[in-house]
Amino acid sequence: MVDRRYLTYFDWGLLALTFLLASIGLMTLYSAVMAGAPTPQKALFTKQLIWYGIGLVAMLVCILFNYKLMERYAWLIYGGGIGLLLWVMFFGKTIGGSSRWIVFGPISLQPSELAKITVIIILARYYGKYVSGRGFTLKGLQVPVIMTLVPFLLIVRQPDLGTAGLIGLIAASMTLFVKIEKRTLLFIMGSGVAMALPMWFFFLKEYQRQRILTFINPDRDPLGAGYHIIQSKIAIGSGFLTGKGFLEGTQNALSFLPEQHTDFIFSVLAEEWGFLGAIILIFAFLVFIFWALNIAYSCRDPFGTILAVGITAMIAWQAVINMGMVMGLMPVVGVPLPFISYGGSSLLTTMISVGILLNISMRRFMIE
């Protein structure tokens, strides 16, 4: 089943980058759960290790078969993703007002995370089939818009606006990549503005407008999101050039950071390792993204190329939004930092993505 030639073409570089990011992630998570809180939450670290184990297995499974099978079974995979989202809608576990979780014994999964990949696969199939170089027109965009909208709305309902927005961004990125015909693009942007303006001025109530403004600019809410952001900025800034040292971050240890092991984990890293540590992480992500884009380039099959671009977009957007958020450049949304943030489903999704990238990479010369 696994041809010896695959080993020759195996992408050791991408695997090494993955291990580098995973190591940075585990180290930072260790500090976030051990140095903070009166009672260290060591269990979270152990759980994350187990999830990395599960993720590695999932990654290996993802390279065993030819990725082109995913093109053939794209609808099945997509249907499975929607099925899981429907399942969670009716039987999901509700935590903190939103039902996102499916629980199997000790494991709980967020289908919305996996839905990201299923949308990427189905869109890659569609665009791979119809990409022409001239760009898509409104007519050609109807199907992909519906493909995105179905899981998007199901996830909005949970509600998990962060993940839903991310799916929208990924779909938009993939669509822009395969090119939208110029007039169509102008039309979409124009009608977007034309709809948003009257919405803003006539349909939204004052408090709704305030809420959106606060979302865009957390400074307007000094007691809520704004407070978190200022503490996060203090954490990052106080790291200075070389940081306060491993396990020495005071903002981290005294629990000034909200969600320090999930969404705000970058602040922990930047506080303890300073500018040097943070820049290393940013470069690691940058190299990873370029590597993945190179895989997209060397793939000679439109499906594979677009699939690789979609996956890259997913990881890149999450990294940019998360880091931008904790540095006070972006609204506060619950988007995890790939490889680094605590969270099983997100990690599993990231590792499956790496697996798909490895798959595409090692079959780049295999044309059958």
Binding site: G226, A296, P302, T312, I367
Partner: protein, 622 residues
Amino acid sequence: MSKYLKTVDSEWFRQRLTLVMVCVVAAAVILILRLIFLQIIKGQEYRRMSLNNSIRLQSIDAPRGLIFDRNGNLLVDNRPSFDLYISMKDARPVEDTIGRLATHASLDMTELTGRVDGVRGAAYHRPQLLKRDIGRNALAVVAAHRYDLPGIDIQIQRLRNYIHSGLAAHLLGYIGEINTKELQREAYADCRAGDLIGKFGVERTLEDYLRGERGGRQVEVNANGQVVRVLRTVPARSGHNVFLTIDSRLQQRAEELMKDKAGAAIALDPTSGEILALASAPAFDQNDFISGLSRDKWNALVNNPHRPLENKAIQGEYPPASTYKIITAMAGLQEGVITPDETIFCPGHYRFGKRNYRCWRRGGHGKVDLIKAIAESCDVYFYQVGQRLGIDRLAWYAKAAGLGTATGIELGHEGKGIVPNATWKKKRTGIAWQPGETLSVAIGQGFNLVTPLQMAVFTAAVANGGVRFRPTLVKRVVSWDGNEILSNTPRVAGRLPVSPETLTLVQKGMWEVVQGDRGTARIARLKDTQISGKTGTAQVVSREKIEESEDGASVHKYKDHAWFVAYAPSDAPRLAIAVIVEHGEHGSSAAAPVARELIKTYLEAPADPPVMAVGAGGPRNG
């Protein structure tokens, strides 16, 4: 390798990918520039801020809205309570600080240490409550020794203050700490554990108006935990002030009159349904609930056989007794089963089936027409009217009079009462309706149950020509800066389904009750004001039972409940009243004088000028 056929050539994809890479680099550059700004340019400043851990959040509690009566007399306000807080991180060494605090302010050392041990595990950097309501003297001492007491902070909290202790306790209600169940409810979404919310009375039902909106500030503190700079402030918004419809003078009078009794007295404006007084006796003192009720006091309240915690005006359900004859009379006239001139002979009893139904006057009333039947409350007359009507028609008129449904006043736990009919009885007891039971119902005994408020609202409807208003306690709601949030407009709940002629006849009968020579409530007469009314004497147990019991009717708990409903002045009513005195025996002797005094107070005695101008604002947030 290149034999693969492409739909678009790889050169095209290369161009697109180059575009993507430019975007990625641009994003990375922005992130790196931001990082440089935060960590290198402003790094020193943030390092300093992080070393002090100096940015804190303080919350500003919103003052609860004030409650006034209809004339602007202040009934409920807030008084400051000075609470001691400790920030464990700043107070180190904690034992020494606590020791100094105890000596300076003469506070109990063991109590303070106990409290400190209790909060040790909680959020380290957050101020923890050490002692509530330390009083002004201790406050002055602590403030003077501030620099000797690192990490000790004083916060001012407002406590609810019921100005006239015990006045309108059931109506105003009280507040208390929110419980876990309430915290999960949508209505309390912006509350936190430890918040005080309305638990009873209008404090509870008007919670949304009275509760303000919490504010807060971001502050920078120094190494001692004391605030050196306020960075941002979101002001709290005070709760709205509520003007009730009650007249505190009349309310006070009603409570005086009901003192040492158990029961309720209600007075309302028959032209609008606005409640002027609503007293339930015995009462309690709400201020006891604010500083925490001792176990003994609580037990005394709960175990008192006269149920002081119950608002009898709306929760108490009693047989309406002879006051119900107003409804029987209206139904009989309207349905044409009697005419005003028809007379019925009352020999003191009425034989129906196998049973002998007695009139309250053993000797009988002789020849009785409608007016005389109402004035002298002849049971035999109404037995026959009830028999002619049948239970279904009687029940229909009772429902139309507003019985059997809650009136919808702004108070919780309102009782609905019971309007019995054949289906109801079958469902409730499984036994078929006995024709004789209709006779009992016709004179307000049997399964009939009403609340005093229902009777007051019904009496008001008789007085004003047949309009049944939804009773209300809220006159106006005004925000602290004077904007009117709500202004009461009378709401009609229904109309009495009787012709003006019928109503005039019933009113005439009720006038005779007080003003007539042989009326049952001649005791209620006033010199200058004409009053109309109806007495009632509700049996607690059947007469036979009393006679069977060894000590007879002298036992208090077997004594009848006394009712009186009234309105005045008879020609242009401005006040409608319902009074019930539990075990007061006769409506005429126990309940009617209460109504008379209320009418006298409201209509004859000059009103005091209001203590506080209407519309005056409460304290601002701070």
